[in-house]
């Protein structure tokens, strides 16, 4: 049988030819000038254009939390925001956590508490937790559980994650 590569599959060519919008975003300390089609989610831009694959897509219904990033400091689902809407915004993804005090502390406490199993939800959990700790120092376990309600983890049963954030919060509050 002869199978040919269908027309239009030239690789990088955009077949739709829809208008693109110039967008400037500041991601993990680096400025990016991009031309984005209006229907492309920030998650696609981060993963496909910038190669930041730490943010994961676990659903298409803004229900799993695995793509959570910080948009101007606030935890936001990167699948629910169009890339061009972030023009002028500062974005932090899990790849930047090593450079922030809350982030690196959270990372180590997640590891210490065995709060990571398959690791697919972890980036979203870490970003949500970073946002939480910046908002409220020393959150209680119920506050943490409430903040994570939209973040699904199928591996851990959540205890270790809550514990890790609680410990990190307490440490940040005392230092």
């Amino acid at each position: 049988m002869e199978v040919t590569v269908p027309r239009g599959y030239g690789g990088r060519v955009t077949t739709r030819g829809s208008a693109t919008l110039p967008t400037r975003i500041h991601v993990n300390g680096v400025d990016h000038r991009l031309s984005l089609e209006p229907d492309r989610a920030l998650l696609e831009v981060l993963r496909d254009d910038l190669g930041l694959t730490g943010s994961h897509r676990g659903c298409e219904s803004v229900a799993c939390g695995a793509c959570t990033i910080l948009l101007d400091g606030e935890p936001v689902r990167a699948c629910a925001v169009a890339g061009f809407q972030c023009d002028g915004a500062t974005i932090e993804t899990v790849e930047s956590l090593r450079n922030s005090p809350e982030g690196s502390l959270l990372r180590t406490r997640f590891m210490d508490a065995r709060a990571i199993q398959c690791g697919f939800c972890t980036p979203g959990m870490l970003m949500a937790a970073t946002g939480l700790l910046r908002r409220s120092a020393c959150p209680t376990a119920p506050q943490i559980r409430h903040a994570l309600e939209g973040h699904l983890c199928r591996c851990t049963g959540y205890h270790a994650i809550v514990k890790a954030i609680e410990v990190a919060g307490a440490e940040l509050a005392t230092c």
Partner: protein, 757 residues
């Protein structure tokens, strides 16, 4: 110790399949049936170029029917074409595949494929499917029966005649979505030699073998890498049509091709777990000893036979007597095709169903005899001195201490005072219940002859020139922390720091054989394999060290090889000498690595005893699990923190199964709850105070004394909570409830009794 895996997973540097898609890949999108059963035609306009493929194209391109093996081998299994040919047999059945430069383009192309559907009658329930008047899923078979397996014992009838107490229990374990957070994903790229494939699977070697057979190319031409796998829980232990089609497309188009399941299509196309209906009967002596059991089980196979559909009810039958000393068991199970997503393994696979049946029956018996549930179990369990113990169905339990686990449970829970508290609260009109389960489970599937896919695992431990160590093993982990567990295993044998060890898993590259990860194989099968290789590596290194030190008996002491007169050299010197030859005699072979094939002589049997305390809110029927006490025994533990994590995760999946999960099908045969928003799984707000304890009864089957642990929590907690809820409802007689124990059902049960009217 921190996990080896966590360095990359906590910094966004995990290598999940969707993170590694090659540049320039085409994306595939599948056209799926919206109907439970429908004939279809796809209209191609003559002369127009089409950018989709149907089964006709796959036939012309020689992609063969899916050729995977099943256990037992005599299952009635019509050949399954990768895409449906002219009839779609479940909602989500793939009928065509479209391509695009991006996922979005592919999705759009798929939505434009002109499919014309003609709906046909369907059957979504396995009990109804057995009825001769029901529609046939595969009409050419003349029946919906996919397999029957039985273990008959005529002695059972005698026990039923002689015993004064007879009990009968019907239970259904609904189908469950495994729901790993990472949806199924696969990409394939042509290479000079054949194909490079990355897929989110638990069984890279089985995927490779089946793919090679389907494409008609040698296995050596395909490399399969699973990378980091975002959860599997059994559903990624099948070989799926999408994997074969993506590989075929890459081969024939000469381009990398990728498919990433959207959540909804993942839910409707990935194997569902459980799906078993059963009737368990017991013959019991006057003193409350179970003499004989009779089990009839019906497994929902779904529309097509998956790798494990027949194994699940067989395991249920084999484990139906639980941890109890029973004299005779008579079991028959059958599988039935229905117009639903195929069923496959899900955490526990068959053992949760068995435990659910026998443990529920034990509580019924306790109520009938007015005995305490723990006391009744103590009367029936296999005593600690009876091991190895062979069950009536010829399964040999390696080791265990069931009375010990029960005693531990009574002690950590303060059982007597919990019962007193229950009486006080009941007197105040509260609905409070205590539920117990005492369970045993089989892990580390093997020996190889019991499985169509083999059960043995190969491990290689190599000393590199710089003294670092590379471990490779045919495991396919999906979050269990196996790299860490195997690192610890090797570090102990070689007496080297864990940082000098690298573990390569989940790949066929450099690992000739492996059966992947399932049935809690990590500690029970892979660890003994790696241990065996490491021990052999020490022997090999000792001979090199002896040669370098010009002695005959260099021994490994504190990480160095020493002679009796105190001279010593370390791993780096041995690595250098072994790799470059300097200082070694001519007749000494170079290199320093050792392999070991471990075929488990039998299953290992971890066990435990759980207790749940629940209360029920009478106004809305909401079940609140107030406290949970667990005693687990998985033999010796290599990574105790990893065992904690596995038990915790398994428990919460079990809590999901008993409290909220379960796929329902509407009148049109469509599954309900096919998005994450509408699918109930435990969230962070499900808080249950939990006290965990462990006992340690080593397995005599392997030198490490280890057993598997990944599934215990899921198996033990369902009957504990179920029994507790029935205990809470018992005063008002509303015990006839089923899984899952959602509030609405409990509320209806309460409303149906006089007490609450």
């Amino acid at each position: 110790m921190r996990r080896v895996e966590d360095q990359r997973l906590s910094t966004g540097r995990g290598r999940f399949t969707a993170d590694t898609v090659p540049r320039g890949a085409l994306y595939a999108s599948f056209v799926r049936s919206p109907h439970a059963c429908a004939d279809f035609t796809i209209e191609r306009q003559d002369g127009a170029h089409s950018d989709f493929f149907s089964q006709r194209d796959l036939d012309a391109g020689h992609l063969r029917a899916i050729p995977f093996p099943t256990t037992p081998s005599d299952c009635i299994k019509p050949p399954r074409s990768p895409l449906a040919r002219s009839t779609a047999r479940h909602v989500g059945d793939a009928v065509a595949v479209a391509l695009g430069c991006s996922e979005r383009e592919a999705f759009r192309a798929a939505s434009l494929v002109p499919v014309r559907w003609t709906r046909l009658p369907h059957v979504s329930d396995s009990i109804l499917a057995a009825d001769p008047s029901s529609p046939l899923v595969h009409p050419e078979l003349g029946s919906n029966v996919a397999f029957t397996w039985e273990a008959r014992d005529v002695a059972v009838a005698r026990h039923f005649e002689e015993c004064p107490v007879r009990l009968r229990r019907q239970l259904a374990h609904p189908r469950i979505v495994a729901m790993p957070l990472e949806p199924r994903t696969v990409w394939a790229a042509p290479t000079a030699r054949g194909l490079q494939v990355a897929t989110s699977t638990q069984v890279p070697h089985i995927v490779r073998d089946v793919m090679a057979a389907a494409l008609g190319i040698p296995t050596s031409a395909i490399d399969v890498v699973a990378g980091d796998v975002g959860g599997g829980f059994g559903c990624k232990l099948d070989v799926y049509p999408e994997e074969l089609i993506v590989a075929w497309l890459a081969k024939h188009l000469g381009r990398p091709v990728c498919w990433i399941a959207r959540r909804t299509e993942d839910i409707v196309s990935t194997s569902l777990g459980r799906g078993q209906y059963g009737v368990l009967e017991a013959a019991v002596s006057g003193e409350g000893r179970i003499r004989a059991l009779r089990y009839e089980g019906t497994q929902d196979v779904g529309a097509y036979m998956q790798l494990n559909a027949p194994v699940m009810p067989m395991l249920t039958a084999l484990m139906i007597s639980g941890c109890y000393r029973v004299e005779a068991v008579d079991a028959v199970v059958r599988g039935l095709y229905t117009h639903t997503t195929p069923c496959g393994a899900y955490r526990g696979a068959g053992r949760p169903e068995a435990t659910f049946h026998i443990e529920t029956l034990l509580d019924d018996l306790a109520a009938e005899l007015d005995a305490d549930p723990i006391e009744l179990r103590r009367r029936n369990v296999i005593p600690a001195d009876a091991f190895p113990y062979t069950t009536p169905l010829d399964i040999t339990f390696d080791s265990g201490d069931y009375p010990g686990a029960l005693a531990e449970l009574e002690s950590i829970s303060g059982y007597a005072s919990l019962r007193e508290e229950q009486q006080r609260r009941r007197a105040r009109g509260e609905f409070v219940g205590l539920g117990v389960s005492c369970f045993v489970e089989m892990t580390g599937l093997g020996p190889s002859r019991t499985l169509a896919t083999g059960g043995w695992t190969q491990a290689t431990v190599s000393l590199e020139a710089d003294g670092s160590v590379l471990v490779s093993c045919g495991l396919g982990p999906s979050g269990q922390g196996s790299e860490t567990m195997l690192t610890l295993t090797v570090a102990e044998v070689l007496q080297v720091p864990p940082e000098s060890i690298r573990v390569r898993l989940g790949t066929t590259v450099g690992v000739p054989h492996g059966t992947g990860t399932f049935g809690s194989r990590g500690a029970a099968v892979a660890a003994p394999a790696v241990f065996g290789a490491a021990v052999r590596l020490v022997d090999r290194a000792a001979s090199i060290a002896s040669s370098l030190l010009e002695t005959t008996s260099a021994r490994l002491v504190d990480g160095n090889f020493e002679t009796s007169d105190g001279r010593h050299i370390g791993w780096p010197e041995i690595g250098r000498a072994a790799h470059y030859g300097a200082g070694l005699p001519q007749d000494m072979p170079l290199g320093c690595s050792a392999s070991f094939n471990y075929d488990p002589p039998g299953f290992t049997f971890p066990h435990g005893a759980y207790l749940a305390v629940v209360s029920i809110e009478p106004t809305d029927g909401q079940v609140v699990v107030e406290r949970l006490f667990t005693v687990d025994d998985c033999g010796n533990e290599i990574d105790p923190a990893g065992v904690d994590a596995q038990v915790a995760g398994a428990l919460w999946q079990g809590l999901g199964a008993v409290l909220m999960e379960g796929v329902a099908f509407d009148d049109a045969g469509r599954p309900t709850g096919t998005t994450l928003r509408r699918c109930h799984i435990p969230r962070s707000t499900l808080v249950i105070p939990w006290a965990a304890h462990r006992t340690h009864t080593p397995s005599p089957l392997n030198p490490l004394g280890t057993k598997g642990v990944g599934e215990c929590g899921t198996i033990g907690v369902v009957p504990a909570v179920f029994n507790a809820v029935r205990d809470a409802l018992r005063p008002c007689g509303a015990v006839d409830v089923g899984l899952p124990l959602r509030a609405h059902q409990i509320w209806k049960a309460l409303r149906s009794t006089d007490v609450n009217r």
